[in-house]
Symmetry: C2
Subunit: 547 residues, 2 copies
């Protein structure tokens, strides 16, 4: 932070790559296209980068999103116009705070002067017009003179807000020469110490009147790199920790202070009971979306809460402005206070599993999987019961990825690929429903290409299972693919279909141990089989949908 | 037109369906989702409609686009937020003038009043904000009182401009009761007869000074239903006809007046020579994009041209405002004038083909295919040599679909599905490269589901072939799938791989004759094998890309 770095750069494109590399980016996901070929070539020729070809733009976006959540910055590179196929992936990154740099080629400056009717262009609008709704900062690098400062500003916004940004490079500018000046890395935003002290005093008062405070922490704590600080604070004062769903695994779930994922009435009853019995709620880095609050059934008493996130700080109902989350948490962690009494933790669930010959259910699949999970495993869950069933897995820190708030189907397979590239030492397990798999499952082609070996657990319930109890119809059915044929189509990977507990138990251990190529385990489950969390979700959501 | 229709409707959703049905829509493509389930159910229960499930939103969009190009109106129905996966398909429909009604569910009115943090929502923006850039009219039907007039207005815009529109139905409004009043169908826009007469006089003068006029007609002529009128006019006055690439098959290509597809230096030399030797250019319903003008190499003399399309009318360099294309063409077709002299047409290409045992080339594949084509065949071409190779196929009227101007990869397979649903008596042949096929080829799942039987000719040149000569790199390579395994994955369809002329010739005839399920013919071609049209394209484009 604040360090002066010396850069040896010579072109706009190379300067951008240098800056990305400084922030830990070594892979750029994307697809080539005529407006961006020169940049693709530049990436290919840069020894410190690898260009990762996806089969299409939105899956490239999901990969970059997963990479960014793990590494703190990700990048995806598309061609102009048709690249807007990535809109949904970038929206998801925007909503869930994933710092993705979206780089697009574009027609040369002046190229559309004679005629605006160029292929991939939309008359009367621009890509920027669309992407500005789903990115926090944008620049069209049409002038090499200002390219450096534009790149610096936009990257700084990406890192400051942990949200996607958009950089557009006209194709004649990519290789334009520039002489960059030494450039400052991101500096922290400042905070008025008086305001901070006043806020802290209020928090201290709240806590002093509390006997059973609880920390309920959300995804922003992970995005802003504040987890260890917050966990230290919890340990010092013996404050129990729950996470939101989107914040799952910010803390090691075997940590003695960890209670569970709290989602109001959707949580396990012992978790919701524990949380709701608290008399002070430190809600940190959470957005309080419908998904994170159990469709707004979470019971957090405003007058006993600290709600701190990237956008705002509210203490006991009073808003404190201009206090960045980082400054607040730094100060909070230095609060010197009493240790709270040892809370009476809910009993941990048993982790033993004894397989029988019965057809496997979603709930039992997760129980069985749990017994084989190790700290190096990372679970990437798609939407539906892949997500709901995962909620109660006990995982180590930073071992879970899911787009559980924006909630588009199809993240898990490309997300698993992005995750393994970001974190090659982790063993990635993607859990995905059949509906989501039909959207993006062939992206396993990219696993074949780059010799990646995620384990894919495909929960086949023959349709959009989450929707059946909401309003059933043929539109919830899908074609029952022979999923285990996929490796033959792609020319790589393995597959197996299981339908009983014994079969799954027999297969999962060796699959997790064997490395080298992807394995797809198709788990046949009933159309009306739902995990316990899903059952609670259905109860809460059905009424809402039909209202 | 102008007819009063009586409607028996009772809810907002049903009124919308009734209006769509009046305009020939019988199928609605889409995916279900919690914000739109009620409408999905309504469609399912309406006997005159079929809901066609796609595997994901953008392919549903391509299907609706193909359907709209054939039937004059199409509709696609998505859920909120994650439905923006369809952005690219709608952009393509917008750019290429395809009248698609994009229907989206949405949170209930007031649902986000307490908290904007609902799943699938993007804070600080709306779907409307994104879709307004790529649709000509929009409405959020948040008030049942005004829903009828909003629906009427938006549908009228769709039909008037032949461009996509956006209708958003909050989930609590879908079944809201309304008492619709009898509603006027679309009325024509008016035109000042004096302005029109002045324009026509100018055209007459141009034609009177011409010996070799030519009609160069574009896609808008098809979209606005003006083809027969224009062809009659050509026949009356013996004016030869060329089309743009996007306008291909507006006229039966076996018509004695048809010259070919004209694209400047990219056309066959005899076509460009013929067109460029003309002394009067009637350019009707064309956009003159880079793709339609051979990267702006078309040589149309401004002072001898009539440029008439939906947006403007320019005669010999002078703009005539407020004259709708339809009014202009109606008046033009009534011009009484001399018949021009019989032009010396370029020699038609031979349609005979004798297969040998050599590896098949793209050019020879198209020559062979030509010999088996019948009037009921319709070709849907993807981007790349699937498109360029198709240019010189001689096809019957309205027998070709390709998104040759916006040019996103992956239209052909879902487009073929939409085309067969729109036009069940036609035999659909999709031609697609391997890069495009990896994007959307598994949408053949939908062909299996609805018992459709397109023939898919997959040109496998192991990568993004069009880009190799522009700037080669590993990013142009893709994984070489075992494409013929796809029917096993999907549980339907047939497949075969061919690599010689003889093999292709032996397979194509019985494949075109056999009905019942899709057939995928994988044609192995060389990485550096390009059709004659592609070779000319490369020559023109390479310089541009590297500039």
């Amino acid at each position: 932070m604040g360090k002066i770095s010396s850069l040896i750069s010579s072109t706009v494109g190379k300067y951008l790559l240098d800056r990305l590399q400084q922030h830990g980016v070594q892979h750029i996901f994307g697809l080539p296209g005529d407006y961006v070929l020169r940049l693709d070539k530049m990436i290919e020729e840069e020894p410190s980068f690898q260009f990762i070809n996806a089969t299409r733009e939105n899956t490239a976006g999901y990969m970059a999103d997963a990479y960014a959540r793990i590494r703190g910055l990700g990048a995806v590179c598309i061609t102009y116009g048709v690249g807007i196929n990535i809109t949904n992936a970038i929206s998801q990154a925007y909503v869930e705070s994933s710092p993705v740099v979206l780089i697009s080629g574009a027609p040369a400056t002046g190229e559309s002067r004679n005629s605006p009717y160029l292929h991939h262009l939309i008359p009367d609008t621009t890509q920027l017009e669309i992407f500005k709704h789903i990115t926090v900062d944008q620049a069209i690098l049409s002038d090499p003179e200002t390219a450096q400062q534009e790149i610096d500003r936009v990257l700084e916004s990406c890192l400051r807000y942990k949200k996607p940004v958009y950089l557009e490079l006209p194709r004649n500018i990519i290789a334009a020469e520039i002489s960059p000046t030494p450039s400052k890395l991101l500096t922290e935003s400042s905070c008025d110490p008086k305001k901070l002290a006043r806020a802290l005093q209020r928090v201290r008062t709240l806590l002093q009147h509390s006997k059973r405070p609880i920390l309920w922490i959300g995804h922003e704590v992970q995005r802003f790199g504040l987890a260890s600080r917050l966990i230290d604070f919890a340990e010092q004062h013996r404050i129990p920790i729950a996470t939101t769903l989107l914040g799952k695994t910010i803390v090691n779930e075997h940590h003695p202070l960890f209670i569970g994922v709290y989602q109001g009435k959707i949580s396990r009853p012992e978790v919701s009971q524990f949380v709701e019995n608290s008399d002070c709620f430190l809600v940190i880095g959470a957005i309080l979306s419908d998904m994170d609050t159990g469709m707004f059934t979470a019971q957090i008493k405003d007058d006993k809460s600290v709600l701190a996130n990237a956008d705002r700080l509210i203490i006991a109902g009073e808003e404190y402005s201009e206090i960045p989350l980082t400054s607040f948490l730094e100060a909070l962690s230095e609060l010197s206070m009493q240790k709270f009494e040892e809370p009476k933790f809910p009993k941990k669930r048993s982790e033993s599993f004894s397989a029988n010959r019965k057809p496997i259910t979603v709930g039992r699949m997760f129980e069985c999987l749990q017994t084989y999970l190790k700290p190096e495993h990372m679970v990437v869950a798609d939407i539906g019961d892949a997500l709901f069933g995962s909620v109660d897995l006990m995982l180590s820190q930073n071992s879970f990825l899911a787009c559980s708030y924006f909630g588009s189907l199809g993240f898990a397979v490309p997300g698993a690929i992005g995750a393994q590239i970001a974190s090659p030492k982790r063993r990635i397990i993607a859990i995905v429903g059949d509906g989501a798999f039909q959207m993006t499952g062939t992206e396993l082609s990219t696993a074949v290409r780059y010799h990646l070996d995620p384990v894919i657990i495909l929960l086949n319930n023959r349709g959009y299972g989450t929707e059946r109890p909401l309003l059933e119809g043929h539109y919830n059915d899908i074609v029952n693919w022979n999923y285990t044929e996929l490796p033959k189509l792609l020319g790589g990977g393995n597959s197996i279909r299981v339908s009983t507990e014994e079969e799954f138990a027999k297969v999962i251990k060796p699959t997790l141990e064997k490395r080298g190529s992807f394995t797809l385990i198709e788990v046949e489950i009933g159309k009306q089989d739902f995990s316990p969390t899903m059952q609670r979700f259905i109860k809460v959501a059905t009424k809402k949908i039909r209202d």
